[in-house]
Subunit: 415 residues, 2 copies
């Protein structure tokens, strides 16, 4: 018994988009313990989609389609599947109502084109799409064959998979032995250094421990195959505790934790507040903090001081300091942190100034040089120097500067 993934879309054959949907579904099938041996990509072409179905239905009992459910004439997945199984389409009143409601929310009328999205083969169930207008379907066109369809938009597909498809598959007896994992997240330590510290754990068989690198962080996935999450946790938890003890402050969170969510939790626990003064990150640090719902409990705001005059006028940075140590310097970063803390009246202040590139680097301060200043509740200031180099580019330097600035505050809050 196996599943097979069929991604439909000429944009995939033209290489315009990366096929992240097949990776997502592959990970999910592995997690559920559902075997999966082939993936197919085919364009928005009825005859070729039918060829793909004819081949896949001989090899698998679950066919998972993504793409081709949109409102435009080149979206043909549903009607082609129905045609392959010589089944007529019928309009779902519920889907029509749902699409109309979604258009109403944005104050626009439903376009005529969207009507076709409500057409499903007779006998198919709607696989509800909470966010978009393209519903999928759950259909058994013949005994022992299940067809699931999803739109190509990843965010919609993920939600539909988690909230509808997974519960349905489990209700049908699939994925009874699942693989459960906890992902541990680390900062301020390289993948190889962490690997050396925890190398003995890599020989374990249940749970398994595997390292992988994230964007500016290192992760360890601790996984166990078990019939229930409770049983899996009994196997996983002690190992996780040992790893945390070894990693110390380099461990910052797990699973869905982000550096911003962890800092937010710590500040909320302490009833403290923070403000930011940003130069090279240009608002990215504030954006990272406010990604968190409820961040207004501890984040009051900040100043984007991209121009030196803004550092002086709105943050009260002494022009002498900028004169002496430059717009990118340790004293400037600390003055920015203290300035924003005092002007906004928060407990903590963070200042970030650096050279994101591609231009602006010098011999002493090459592209990738970033200073993070921190002002604490007592008004004492400190700083760290980050050196990213220029090989990963501007976007990486800006994003990691914001993450590392928060990690600097986290370490202070935790020590």
């Amino acid at each position: 018994m196996a599943a097979e993934i069929i991604c439909v879309g000429t944009e995939l054959l033209l290489g315009e988009i990366l096929n992240s949907n097949s990776q997502y579904l592959a990970q999910e099938l592995a997690r559920l313990g559902i075997p999966h041996y082939f993936q197919t990509v085919v364009g928005d072409n009825p005859e070729r989609i039918k060829q793909a179905i004819a081949i896949a239905q001989k090899r698998a009992q679950i066919l998972i389609f993504t793409g081709g459910l949109g409102p435009t004439p080149d979206d043909l997945t549903t009607e082609t599947i129905a045609d392959f199984y010589q089944t007529t389409l019928q309009e779902s009143a519920a889907v029509i109502a749902d699409i109309e409601a979604k258009f109403a929310q944005t104050g626009r009328p439903m376009a005529a084109n969207n009507r076709k999205q409500a057409l499903l083969p007779v006998g198919a169930e709607v696989l509800a799409n909470e966010t978009g207008t393209a519903p999928g379907m759950i259909w058994h066109p013949q005994p022992d064959l299940l067809i699931l369809t999803f739109p190509g938009v990843p965010s919609e597909m993920h939600q539909m998979w988690q909230e509808v498809a997974v519960p349905y598959l489990k209700s049908q007896g699939w994925g009874q032995t699942s693989i459960y994992s906890r992902v541990l997240r680390f900062r301020g330590i390289g993948e190889s250094s962490l690997a050396e510290k925890v190398t003995d754990f890599f020989n374990l068989t249940n749970p398994t421990v595997a390292p992988y690198a994230g964007k500016g962080e290192v992760r360890l996935r601790v996984s166990s195959a078990a019939s229930s999450e409770a049983l899996a946790r009994e196997i996983i938890d002690p190992v996780v505790d040992q790893i945390k003890a070894i990693a110390g402050l380099d461990y910052f969170g797990e699973d869905e934790d982000t550096i911003a969510s962890v800092v937010g939790t710590l500040l909320r626990q302490r009833g403290e507040t923070v403000a930011v003064a940003e130069s090279c990150t240009g608002g990215g640090l504030g954006a990272l903090l406010t990604d968190q719902p409820g961040s207004s409990d501890y984040f009051w705001g900040g100043v984007i001081a991209y121009d030196n005059q803004v550092k002086i006028k709105l943050l009260g940075v002494d022009p002498e300091i900028i004169e002496h140590c430059g717009a990118v310097g340790e004293a400037t970063a600390e003055a920015m942190a203290l300035g924003v803390k005092e002007r906004l009246g928060t407990d903590w202040g963070i200042g970030v100034t650096g050279i994101a590139g591609p231009g602006g680097g010098t011999e002493q301060k090459p592209v990738g040089t970033v200073y993070v200043g921190l002002a604490d509740p007592a008004g004492h200031t400190s700083h760290i120097l980050l050196q990213f180099g220029d090989r990963r580019g501007r976007e990486w330097i800006r994003y990691l500067s914001a993450c590392q600035a928060l990690d600097y505050l986290r370490r202070r809050l935790q020590s």
Copy 2:
């Protein structure tokens, strides 16, 4: 005459890596004008690899394999292809010498299991790998069928494709006609509404016009097959001009343009500057503007006024206004825009305030309600109301609020 891509690797079926090789090859085949209708992913399993070959060789005249050329026992691509065509393997002395030379550079002796990488089917040519130890092959196992194999390591595969495979394909008469595309980008109009406006263009055959949705924008791809880019442009450009005329201000850019890069270009042309006052976007608008290298030419900075006190203290918003129309209201958004423009001394000021959710919504102002205020060089203010609804969530509302705020400025700059 078509090509087909077969990616071999169990790690792809487990979702451990993203299949970027298929996107790369797809783009290259499109660029060369070599039709390509199917992509297959299969694990490191001889029987299933043979099934994939049996199917693909009926549909295509060029089979392009990636992965499974390494030195370890689970790397089976070459021997499985040879076995499928009942051809024996023979060791290539040239490849052995090359691998030994590469090991010599690292001061290590060649490992025994690297020997298998020198085994190629009788009659196959070596597809040289300059950087790695895994060569690919160029082989005609039967008339009218060409097989190309590449290692899975993207950097090696790219180099081998560009330096060996492309010249070989052109020498065989492939890639004489290339496909050229322009991608047009639109904002403030839905995919289905735009499709209705330009529906006649979808019937064209050369160039072809196809719509697809991006994150908060709609795109039209205009593609033409021609023997040179110059000829393709002659076919594409008039159609692009007609579509732009129909779309008017809803068209904002093409190809690599982003709303931030377009606004940056317009401001730089006019020698004007902008500052931002952000509430619900929390810095995301500034971050979007400063994603652009050189944005300091026109972006001076801003204030993240997440807390009402910051709106009053740093932006000089009259408490009365917040009292009367709320922190999220049109007058507040305009006052924020004017306040930041005046305090920073820029030509333009943008203010964004809204309810990103999940909490904070009311009957009159549900989650997804966002006001964008704009202060122009004369100090006149205006605003727009955005209604995203709550179905796509906080991150979407925040990101699109920043994009739409820039689009509001763009429309002012262009009209």
